[in-house]
Amino acid sequence: MTTVTPRRGWRVRRVRSGRTPWILVVPAVVGVLFLVLPFAGLLVRAPWPTMGARVTDPAVLSALWLSLSTASAATAVSLLFGVPLAWLLARTRFPGRRFVRALVTVPLVIPPVVGGVALLLVLGRNGLVGRYLDAWFGLTLPFTPTAVVIAQVFVAMPFLVISVEGALRGADRRYEEAAATLGASRATVFARVTLPMVLPGIAAGAALCWARALGEFGATITFAGNFPGTTQTMPLAVYIAMQRDPEAAIVLSLVLLLVSLAVLVTLRERWVNAR
């Protein structure tokens, strides 16, 4: 550090002190520990000898299957509505757009249980909309897997919309303009040019959305109720198990953790880092 030549100034300094500065490393390590230690706690306390039997318990498998299928359905629904919504927010101007964008992100910050209460009051059997669904079509949503999917879409779709909107804003618009000047309709431009361009963003958003839906708890237990095989997803099973049998809750948590990790790692490698 003492050999800094006056002419090249700070550049040399930076290159020569190329070691990672401990003042950043220490807090970063603490941060990682804080995130990882709770999971280590799960691993340490897990009842390994009975693990096999517990994991293959039909009740566990049914909760896991319900979680995986509803989270996937919720992601599909979010893609169906979320991508056009993101396009509208990123590429058009309409009155109240900023307000709509704020609204879209509300489920990110409100407690999910609030979402569950709102859904119950709107779509429940006696809800604002739900009472007509019941009266006209005999359709009641609470206590059905559909209700689980609705709760998951409510909390998870904003993740998708935000990712896709960001991707759309970052994408180079010249390709779209070129396609348009060559006579492609707006829909064609979207389907053939825009969509392929932002596909990694959509995939990343979908992965986040799926993971968030998989972990959904508050809105689900409030709106969809809790019945094994119908509405009891993994997070609900964990919570209920914790009331009486903490070991079972640990096993369920580990399973959910492994599944989420596996999917997120795979998807990130495939879509996000590959760019």
């Binding site: 119950l120 009051l121 429940g124 009641t140 206590f143 237990i221 119908t230 919570y239 209920i240």
Partner: protein, 276 residues
């Protein structure tokens, strides 16, 4: 999962509708306090931490308020949560001078863990003192749209029923009662606690739910309660005790005396609990 920050007794405002019960208790206890200890004071003072089952929220808020009125030097901190959660807290060293549980098995966890204060236990019992009982009732929305009249009606096609999950005390009681009735009911949901069942009934999302008599009273007309004979098979005992870790066992004993006093019993009775 659920945070239960200890609550100060005084600022807690009971929910609308249940206000009448603690208010009456307040007047009652203050009146007798004034008679018994007029001007003398009994020297009771200090901090008292009371951990009580969530179903006792209204009752204990009222009793604690009167207790503080009666003993101006005493500061009661109340913490309400599920009994098993509280038992875990006590056994992990959380400060607790009084523990009131919604069932005997949860009290047993504390007895086997930290144990009860030996002097108090010698006088009132090794496993705590049962001070209240609670009986299951069928709760239905006010106009009883599904026309529920008995346990058998719960098994009818198209009747939506909410129960407590078997893992929580009200669920265990529900199971006992349903086994006694011999009726096979398939609920649409197994809620995480009894108040969640009550809410689903209040909102009319289900046609009926099994809750405690005290919950029907707490709902203050927003649900109707129906008695059913099999409930007698599943009466729930509420034990109270002074954990061995208490730093104010004398004060704790005085608080428990207030709970089990005639006035305390009257408050419990008004709230729908049975008293031994």
């Amino acid at each position: 999962m659920r945070e239960t920050a200890p609550r100060r007794a005084r600022p807690v405002r009971p929910a609308r509708g249940v206000l009448a019960v603690p208010a009456a208790a307040l007047l009652g206890l203050t009146a007798c306090g004034a008679q018994d200890t007029a001007g003398t004071g009994d020297g009771l003072s200090g901090e008292l931490t009371v951990l009580a089952a969530a179903s006792l929220t209204d009752v204990f808020t009222g009793i604690a308020g009167s207790f503080e009125e009666e003993h101006p030097g005493v500061d009661v901190t109340l913490s309400f949560a599920g009994s098993s959660e509280l038992a875990q807290q006590i056994n992990s060293g959380a400060p607790a001078d009084v523990f009131a549980s919604a069932n005997t098995s949860t009290m047993a966890q504390v007895v086997q863990g930290e144990g009860l204060d030996s002097a108090w236990a010698a006088e009132h019992g090794e496993n705590g003192l049962v001070f209240a009982t609670n009986t299951l009732r069928i709760a239905v929305p006010p106009d009883n749209p599904a026309g529920i009249g008995s346990v058998a009606d719960l098994a009818e096609d198209g009747v939506q029923v909410a129960f407590c999950a078997e893992d929580v005390p009200c669920g265990a009681a529900t199971r006992t009662a349903m086994e006694a009735s011999g009726v096979q009911v398939t609920p649409v949901t197994l809620e995480e606690d009894v108040r969640a069942v009550l809410t689903k009934v209040e909102l009319g999302e289900v046609d009926a739910g099994l809750v405690y008599a005290s919950d029907v009273i707490a709902a203050d007309g927003r649900v109707e309660g129906l008695d059913f004979p099999e409930a007698e098979e599943a009466v729930n005992d509420y034990p109270i005790g002074v954990p061995a870790t208490s730093e104010a066992p004398g004060l704790a004993a005085a608080f428990i005396d207030a709970v089990t006093s005639q006035t305390g019993s009257a408050v419990l009775d008004d709230a729908g609990f049975g008293t031994p």
